[in-house]
């Protein structure tokens, strides 16, 4: 078993190395036909002229190719900006598609082989490592050695992993051209699903989904015997694979807009953007359904489901960000900060982002109806800021890249505007609570330590108080790890849900009220 696991580990690392090396393979040659194919009509002439000096040359790496492109392109654009000829400046980004088109070499020739050698090996290795986990070991809490681990306790492995993830996200969001080979590699799969070439987002979606699936299986092994954990993991795996990955691609195959039916505004912050609305409105009945369904989820779905089940129905059963956090991020859940100070920061930040998203959307919608006569510029600017700061930097780079440093729910806790909305409903109008079992708490601290949302669960449990917190995503891990069976996630009558002055059962000398 150990042997198999070691092989798995080696294969995984090999796959990762190949994946990391691929962008550096091959050569790059630009042809006029590529420029023709990948640039807009209006820019054809200019682009051909700008890139003329590159045509016919062979670049030995993506670095030299991208450098040359940037040189020529920027010289042209900067000159126009200097002259303030704003309408002639080219704002579109053609670097990624042109790099992708210009790449030739082993990856372009045998994409499937490289897919197998990189992503394939990593998945296979991961599975080989995971399947034998905890075999022949009784079901129970598997937290031995976490705080001695170089990976899970901010040791050197954790630092390397975090740095790699952060690097990957920065490149993905802002320098995707460097990933051209990787995107070429997944082209065949993309054609198969949507009939279109892959973008960096397809690559990302694929890796993301695989991470959830593979690490989801790890959850089954780890939480063997805890059905709540198993079932909700099946749920996030299902929603990611179907709703977030396959269905949107298949929609595209049928000339529909790419749409994730389970993504809800304001997490899906571009839902009310002009291009999305137009896309839905021009896609017939199904498009109309997308729009109406989206709105129903926001105004009816969220409050009703959250009333009955708490925000967990979304955050740890459906959501993609939550799905990744609960699977890939599970080894890091103990790294969340439990201090009062971070709770304070959390409340400011998460509600701040919500306000930002709401305002931005309000302006967008107003503009939409006024046909951009008023605040057109401002809308674009707001979108750019939000997309950069929240959509990419916060949700991506920090949200996932910081798993090994600050735990697996940094985005969900400090940034997600939908979580803030769900949280308000959960706090003030819901049947969900975590019940504290009378006087059984021994203040050991397992619950607080393993709460990914940084809730100091023990603080409530040891005074006999139920846990009713807007941030609780109902992952159920506090309940799982409690060695004394003190915590139970449950839905019940609103009466007695919030017991601010609990009485700890057991002492009849006095009515001991905590405060």
């Amino acid at each position: 078993m150990k042997f198999l696991q070691n092989i798995g580990l080696i294969l995984f690392i090999l796959g990762l190395l190949v994946f990391t090396a691929l962008p550096f393979l091959g050569t790059y040659q630009l042809e006029p036909s590529m420029v023709e194919e990948h640039t807009k009509e209006m820019h054809q002439e200019a682009m051909q002229e700008i890139l003329e000096p590159m045509v016919g040359k062979t670049y030995s790496s993506n670095f030299s190719f991208i450098k040359a492109y940037n040189q020529h392109f920027n010289t042209y654009n900067e000159a126009l900006k200097e002259e303030q000829a704003w309408d002639q400046v080219i704002w579109d980004d053609y670097l990624f598609p042109l790099t992708k088109a210009a790449s030739s070499g082993p990856v372009a020739e045998a994409p499937n082989l490289f897919m197998a050698l990189s992503i394939g090996l990593a998945v296979l290795g991961g599975l080989l490592y995971i399947f034998p986990l905890y075999r022949n070991v009784p079901a129970g809490i598997k937290h031995d050695g976490i705080y001695f681990s170089a990976m899970k306790a901010r040791g050197w492995l954790g630092i390397i992993t975090g740095t790699y993830l952060i690097g990957f996200y920065v490149i993905l969001y802002w320098y995707p051209e460097y990933l051209a080979n990787l995107v070429i590699m997944v082209d065949p799969l993309s054609y198969l699903l949507s009939g279109n070439p892959a973008s960096q987002w397809f690559l990302y979606g694929l890796i993301y989904t695989l991470a959830i699936l593979v690490m989801g299986i790890r959850m089954f092994r780890k939480y063997k015997g805890n059905n709540y954990q198993t079932i909700r993991t099946v749920s996030v795996m299902f929603f990611q694979l179907s709703f977030a990955f396959l269905i949107p691609e298949i929609l595209v195959l049928f000339n529909m807009p790419w749409h994730d039916f389970k993504n809800i505004w304001p997490l899906d912050y571009s839902f009310f953007y002009e291009y999305r609305i137009d896309g839905m409105l021009s896609s017939g009945a199904l498009g109309m359904f997308m729009l109406v369904w989206g709105i129903i989820l926001i105004v009816i779905g969220v409050p009703i489901f959250t009333y009955f089940y708490g925000k967990r129905w979304y955050c740890s059963w459906v959501c993609g960000c939550g799905g990744l956090a609960e699977t890939l991020g599970d080894p890091y859940r103990q790294l969340s900060d439990k201090s009062l100070k971070s709770w304070k920061i959390e409340r400011y930040l998460v509600h701040g982002v919500l306000v930002f998203a709401v305002l931005m959307t309000a302006i967008t919608i107003t503009n939409y109806f006024m046909e951009f006569s008023l605040l057109g510029q401002a809308t674009d600017q707001l979108h750019a800021i939000y997309g950069f700061a929240i959509g990419s930097a916060f949700a991506g780079v920090i949200g996932t890249g910081f798993y090994p440093f600050m735990g697996n729910r940094v985005w969900c806790r400090f940034g997600c505007p939908l979580a803030a909305y769900l949280g308000m409903v959960q706090r003030f109008k819901s049947r969900f609570r975590i019940t504290t079992n009378g006087g059984q708490c021994i203040s050991c601290g397992n619950c607080s330590t393993y709460c990914e949302m940084g809730i100091d669960v023990r603080w409530y449990a040891q005074r006999g108080q139920n846990i009713v917190r807007s941030s609780c995503v109902g992952c159920g891990v506090c309940s799982a790890v409690c060695p004394r069976g003190v915590l139970k996630l449950e839905n019940g009558s609103e009466e007695g849900r919030i017991n601010d002055m609990p009485i700890i059962i057991g002492n009849e000398s006095i009515n001991v009220k905590s405060s």
């Binding site: 009955f308 050991c444 601290g445 004394r484 839905n491 019940g492 057991g506 000398s509």
Partner: protein, 449 residues
């Protein structure tokens, strides 16, 4: 010296609870918490998790470090070597003295040692304090075999700790079953099986004869009552604990095994009180209760009650409610409510159910009028509130058995054994109790009423 101050010796659960509740009732009175163990209160019950790498010491502190200052509770770190009850002064090892107006003794316990030959060798230790934990870390480094002596809760925790580091363990238990002075036979067997499932070599009916040193004065083997010699580099002594009152003996303070107190925690000396593990009630505080209560929950209740008495006009007697306790044997959680002795007399009867896996079990004890007296639960979490009521109101057997779904405290979607248990009950008792029906909607929204 500050006048009118309260000094609490011991910053464990009982001393800390007392301090917190005094502060709650009286915002002004100066309070000093004294301890030589750790500067801040930590949860002793979590010691094992530090060793196992589930948590660090920091995680085991129930209150943040600034809590004490915020609540104006002074902390004094240091060992008290003597108390001058006449002068009302604590004398510290470093020569300092601390005066008090009222003194609360909450000095806890220390591990029992029964005079075994070799019990003070290097590599031989109990597990009670934070220092013990640090020692255990040292003593178990790079060893290839460990022996544990004594079959109680701390013993099984130590077994789990060692197992988490893949150190082979032999566990010597003098009795016929594991912890069988508390657990009925079947439960003791269940726990024993599970301990073995974790590859611990559990040797029942085997006592420790002698611990054998090597030339450097470190343990190298133990000899058992069966004449067997087991090589080992570590011996854990876990044969119970007794009140930690060394410092207080040979003073005017009246002690027996612990510090003798009445039901208001008063000792024989004015303004001196004792709570928690170190206190011994002259008469038991209730039916079925012990003279010395050595668990977390009772320490907390002692602290709450004494704090009330020190701050309110009308003092009350300590009146504990229905007994409860819990523990965990490796992966099997155990809860108990009310009274379930290891053996019961003719005036009560019991119903026992165990799952096929042999890892989930419930025992109920009823009197001859079928009123519930107590219950043990293994691998099945129960609602404290439910059994607190059922037992104090004397619910009848059928009512308890039928309503078990309301007592169920397992996580959602957990395998439900209620029907199985009911069927067995019906078979044994010739009854025909059926499961309460839940409508689809009730199930869907997870209602339990």
């Amino acid at each position: 010296m500050i006048e009118n101050n309260i000094v609490i010796l011991g910053n464990g659960i009982s001393g800390v609870t007392c301090a917190r509740h005094i502060r709650k009732n009286n915002p002004k009175v100066p309070i000093t918490l004294v301890s030589a163990e750790t500067r801040h209160f930590f949860s002793r019950t979590a010691l094992m998790y530090i060793y196992m790498g589930h948590m660090t010491y920091e995680h085991t502190k129930p209150y943040a470090d600034d809590f004490w200052e915020k609540n104006d509770i002074s902390l004094r770190f240091g060992w008290v070597k003597e108390i001058d009850f006449g002068q009302k002064q604590l004398k510290f090892e470093d020569g300092e003295v601390l005066g008090y107006q009222q003194l609360v003794l909450a000095t806890g316990s220390k591990p029992n040692k029964f005079g075994w030959p070799g019990q003070d060798l290097n590599g031989v230790q109990g597990l009670y304090s934070y220092q013990d934990l640090l020692n255990m870390e040292e003593n178990t480094r790079d060893i290839d075999h460990a022996v544990l002596v004594g079959g109680g809760l701390i013993g099984v925790e130590m077994a789990e700790m060692l197992a988490s580091r893949n150190i082979p363990v032999t566990f010597l238990v003098r009795e016929k079953g594991f912890w069988d002075n508390v657990l009925p036979k079947k439960e003791a067997a269940l726990v024993g099986r599970h301990i073995r499932e974790h590859h611990v070599d559990l040797k029942l009916e085997t006592a420790l004869e002698e611990i054998i040193p090597d030339s450097s004065g470190r343990v190298k083997a133990v000899k058992t009552s069966n004449g067997e010699t087991i090589n080992c580099q570590f011996v854990g002594l876990t044969a119970g604990v007794s009140p930690n009152i060394e410092v207080l003996k040979n003073s005017e303070l009246e002690t027996n095994r612990g510090i003798l107190v009445d039901h208001q925690f008063r000792t024989n000396l004015p303004d001196v009180f004792a709570i928690g593990d170190c206190a011994e009630f002259k008469t038991t505080p209730g039916k079925g209760r012990k003279h010395i209560e050595q668990v977390w929950y009772t320490g907390r209740m002692h602290g709450e009650t004494l704090a009330h008495n020190l701050t309110q006009k009308k003092a009350v007697n300590y009146t504990p409610g229905i007994w409860f306790n819990s523990a965990k044997f490796f992966d099997i959680e155990y809860q108990t409510y009310g009274q379930v002795p290891a053996e019961w007399t003719e005036d009560s009867w019991s119903f026992y159910w165990e799952s096929e896996s042999g890892k989930v079990a419930l025992r109920f004890l009823f009197d001859l009028e079928d009123r519930i007296l107590g219950m043990n639960a293994f691998g099945w979490r129960m609602r404290h509130e439910f059994f607190d009521r059922a037992i104090s109101e004397g619910w009848k057997a059928e009512r308890v058995i039928r309503q078990l779904d309301k007592a169920d405290f397992n996580p959602e979607f957990h395998k439900n054994f209620h029907q199985q248990l009911l069927s067995q009950y019906n078979r044994e008792k010739g009854t025909s109790i059926t499961l309460p029906k839940q409508s689809f909607i009730q199930k869907l929204i997870g209602s339990r009423s």
